[in-house]
Amino acid sequence: MAVLNKKSKVSDEIPSSSMADIAFLLLIFFLVTTVFPKDKGLAIVLPEPNEDEVDINPKNLMFFLIQPGGVIQVKRGESEQIQTITPDRVEGVWRGDFADNENLIAVVQTHPEAAYRYMIDVLDGLQSAGADKISLQLQEGG
């Protein structure tokens, strides 16, 4: 009987002193593995080098002319009428016209000296509106 009562000297508790270390370890692991990727932007698909030119009915074209100072002019198809808009209206203008004509193609013609960001503003507006047929061009005679 006396033999059975003898307690073992080995502790029956799980050692928890290194719990903090484990926690820090996990913390640091996640801190350093969380990367904020900078790989983001506006994706476009360029035409293939040898792609044939296709004749498009001018009625299905909508021109966005970007002038050096950032002025955006909208010209519809063959119409000579030019409408000047601000960058934040590109999305609404496109949505309005696209609702009437689903074959509409956006032609972004940027002046050679216009800042890149103005083109991005227009492209942003068009992509926000869900436009997928976009042509990027350089304004001729600039």
Partner: protein, 149 residues
């Protein structure tokens, strides 16, 4: 009767050893720290002001399949830290594109105030190299900042 040991022999119950049971943890911690912070650098970030766009999307491509081309405000072109002229873009990108099995996505990281003719020249170079998938790298713009502009 003299006190045993002159009163100096009583031992303190506190251990005089530095606890070393967590040494392994510290070692692993350092090991993991260095393992995860060691990054094989691809290219240095050039000094540009990013254009902003609301429609900014993440590029769902493997890191290896993305090629960054930098275009600084001064009109300098950089690929993998190498300063280049515009005409050198096509001969450099074309072999990279075919080596990637046509999976390569080119990210144009241009300063927002660069004249558009340079960006257009870049597109022409990429087109000539056969690249079709291009991303204009932008920062995500919040609606609030746009309203203020």
């Amino acid at each position: 009767m003299a006190i045993k040991g002159g009163g100096f022999s009583r031992k303190s119950s506190a251990s005089d050893k530095i606890p070393d049971s967590s040494l392994a943890d510290i070692a692993f911690l350092l090991l993991i720290f260095f393992m995860v912070t060691t990054v094989f650098r691809t290219d240095k970030e050039q000094d540009i002001i990013w254009p902003q766009a609301e429609a900014t999307e993440k590029i769902d491509e493997k890191r290896d399949d993305i090629l960054n081309i930098w275009l600084t405000q001064g009109g300098e072109v950089f690929i993998n830290d190498q300063p280049l002229t515009m005409n050198q873009v096509r001969p450099i990108v074309a072999p990279l594109y075919s080596a990637s099995d046509r999976r390569l996505v080119v990210s144009i990281r241009s300063d927002r105030d660069v004249p558009y003719r340079l960006v257009d020249e870049m597109q022409e170079q990429l087109k000539a190299a056969g690249v079709v998938r291009v991303v204009f790298a932008t920062e995500l713009e919040q609606r609030m900042t746009r309203a203020r502009r």
